[in-house]
């Protein structure tokens, strides 16, 4: 396969950053001290729902499940609509994936609650629906960017439809697809905070509580780890993306 273009350095930098992040979110004492210092008048500076570690864990699980499902289905749909038999759905998929992005996440949640009730599941569904769109879009774009000559040459060697997909189209569009997954996951980390409004937990809990109870300490407790987490996941997936053979 092609030469790897990514340096070990970026992986090491990422590992260091992840370690620092883990240390930060497990240092409950540190948060308490610093937040009490910044907001001396606030009586309770730590959110009562659970430790920061647990909130991050909940948050990641939400994102992992929804983005994982979005990846499986998004890539699947992208592949199907670019096959000869799924061609008629290509315009639909393309339009949906650009239109869907203009839909606010809160609206998606609001629609999901009556159908699925409160909690984890409707949030996952909302995040899934929201996160699948960039993945579909990039999968289609990636597969369509494979030149017709290359595909023709592949068929000319006697490859089957499936072999052309597996050996030519997917490897050549992997990077673009991966970039769609990254965009989707990062969007979902932010959007997942909204899930707290319907009781899904995660880093949204302190943020919502902070907003409702006018407690800026809570707000920071949710917002800072969420921002760092988004950055961490973005770098992680970005590194994977770069390490995929550039064609």
């Amino acid at each position: 396969m092609a030469k790897k273009t990514i340096s070990r350095k970026s992986w090491i930098a990422l590992a260091v950053f992840a370690g620092a992040f883990l240390l930060l979110i497990s240092s409950t004492g540190l948060w308490e001290t610093v937040l009490s210092f910044i907001f001396p008048t606030t009586r309770q500076v730590l959110h009562p729902r659970g430790t920061l570690l647990r909130l991050v864990g909940e948050h990641l699980w939400l994102v992992f499940v929804s983005s994982g499902l979005a990846t499986i289905f998004g890539v699947g749909i992208g592949i199907v609509v670019t096959r000869p038999f799924g061609k008629q759905y290509l315009p639909l998929a393309t339009n949906m994936s650009s239109l869907g992005q203009t839909f606010p996440p809160v609206a998606v949640l609001a629609l999901a609650v009556p159908a699925l009730g409160f909690g984890f599941r409707p949030t996952v569904v909302a995040l899934f629906l929201y996160g699948i769109l960039p993945i579909i879009r990039n999968t289609i774009a990636g597969i369509q960017s494979v030149s017709s000559e290359v595909k023709e040459a592949a068929f000319g060697t006697g490859m089957s439809q499936l072999q052309v997909l597996a050996k030519i189209e997917l490897p050549l569009s992997l990077r673009v697809i991966m970039s769609g997954i990254r965009i989707s996951a990062v969007i979902n980390i932010g959007t997942a905070t909204v899930g707290a409004t319907i009781g899904a937990g995660g880093l949204g809990s302190p943020i919502i509580a902070g907003l409702v109870g006018e407690n800026p300490a809570f707000l920071l407790q949710g917002a800072i780890p969420a921002a760092l987490l988004a950055f961490l996941i973005d770098s992680f997936l970005g590194n994977i993306e770069k390490s995929l053979s550039a064609a």
Partner: protein
């Protein structure tokens, strides 16, 4: 043999790309399809490996209707070099060439052996090029890889769509010469598409001239040059048609025997000479020059009358008649001697003979 029977292709947008074409493409020969851009060459070629299916008509390979054969099976037995090469950009040279052997599930060691063999065949040093990616190759190198990929599993049939299109004229001639050598060695059934008439004449056994989806004339290269059927073919062959014909003929075929003089031996040999001059050789039979018979004076040694010849004034037996003519015009002579590999004298070719060829075909 590949047989096209009344093949017509009308694309979905009603473009009539190929119009009732019937051809018999003989095995182990190189057949060129030539014609102006858009005349349907590529379309015709792609119907042979079922990349495109004909609107009507059928194609038989060795008597078997290809529409009854599994497309994948069919294609694995037909090498294909597409217009613009189409190397797989994410695979190395080695992986590109190994595509069909892998599909055929060859053993690793066999594929490996074949790869080195092929790279050498197309003139690419395996240790240098094996692991390069297509984007790291020059146009000419990429085309060699394209040809190697098509030949990888040793298919009996190879389809080539302007395989040497994207390189400079000098490199193109080099690739063509190498390709002639390869074809001599392998004797594949090759269908070769080009719009370059010189390329066609250099490579083809048979030529099909196409225009607007029809094959106007299908004949051996010599016959097409000698007797173009209509004005289009005539014009397409160019105004130097006669010279092109000479470029297809080798000196070998038209060499006249003549008895050389041994310079080391006595002047008595001159008595048998009927022409005004005679070619002269040394004791080993190697050509050294020529002697004017009228220069002869009794008692004079032959070597004193010898006019020596430079290498430019001798032809090898493989030279084309066109080359012979060009050399004659250059040196202002009416005849040139033909020599073998060891410079041994074989015979001569004369201007008179060349005129006879062009007159009679």
């Amino acid at each position: 043999m590949i047989k096209l029977e009344g093949i017509t292709k009308r694309y979905d947008d009603r473009t009539l790309a190929v119009d009732n074409v019937s051809l018999e493409i003989p095995s182990n020969q190189l057949t060129v399809l030539i014609g102006p851009s858009g005349c349907g060459k590529t379309t015709t070629l792609k119907m042979i490996n079922r990349i495109i299916s004909p609107t009507s008509g059928k194609i038989l390979i060795d008597g078997r209707d290809i529409s009854t054969v599994d497309a994948k099976e069919l294609r694995r037995g037909i090498g294909y070099v597409i217009q613009n090469i189409g190397l797989f950009p994410h695979m190395t040279v080695r992986e590109n060439i190994a595509t069909v052997p892998r599909l055929l599930k060859w053993e690793k060691s066999r594929t490996q052996l074949r790869l080195d063999q092929l790279l050498e065949l197309v003139g690419l040093e395996p240790s240098v090029f094996s692991d390069k990616l297509p984007r790291e190759l020059s146009g000419g190198q990429a085309q060699r890889v394209g040809v190697a990929r098509a030949l990888a599993a040793d298919p009996p049939i190879v389809l080539m769509d302007e395989p040497f299109g994207a390189v400079d004229p000098l490199t193109r001639v080099k690739l063509q010469d190498e390709f002639v050598r390869i074809q001599k060695e392998l004797s594949k059934t090759i269908v070769f598409v080009t719009h370059d008439i010189d390329e066609a004449i250099r490579l083809a056994d048979r030529i099909g001239v196409m225009k607007d989806g029809k094959v106007l004339q299908y004949d051996s290269a010599e016959d097409i040059l000698a007797s173009p059927k209509n004005k289009f073919v005539h014009d397409f062959m160019g105004s130097d048609r006669a010279l092109k014909r000479l470029s297809r003929r080798s000196v070998n075929e038209f060499m006249e025997q003549s008895k050389p003089l041994f310079v080391s031996k006595g002047w008595e040999q001159l008595k048998e000479v009927k022409e005004s001059f005679v070619w002269a050789v040394d004791e080993e039979g190697k050509l050294i020059g020529w002697i004017h018979v009228s220069d002869f004076k009794e008692g004079k040694h032959l070597s004193e009358m010898l006019t020596e010849l430079s290498d430019d004034e001798m032809l090898s037996a493989e030279s084309t008649v066109k080359e012979a003519l060009s050399r004659m015009l250059e040196s202002g002579t009416m005849a040139l001697p033909v020599i073998g590999k060891e410079k041994e004298f074989l015979g001569q070719i004369s201007m008179y003979k060349i005129q006879e060829i062009t007159r009679n075909g």
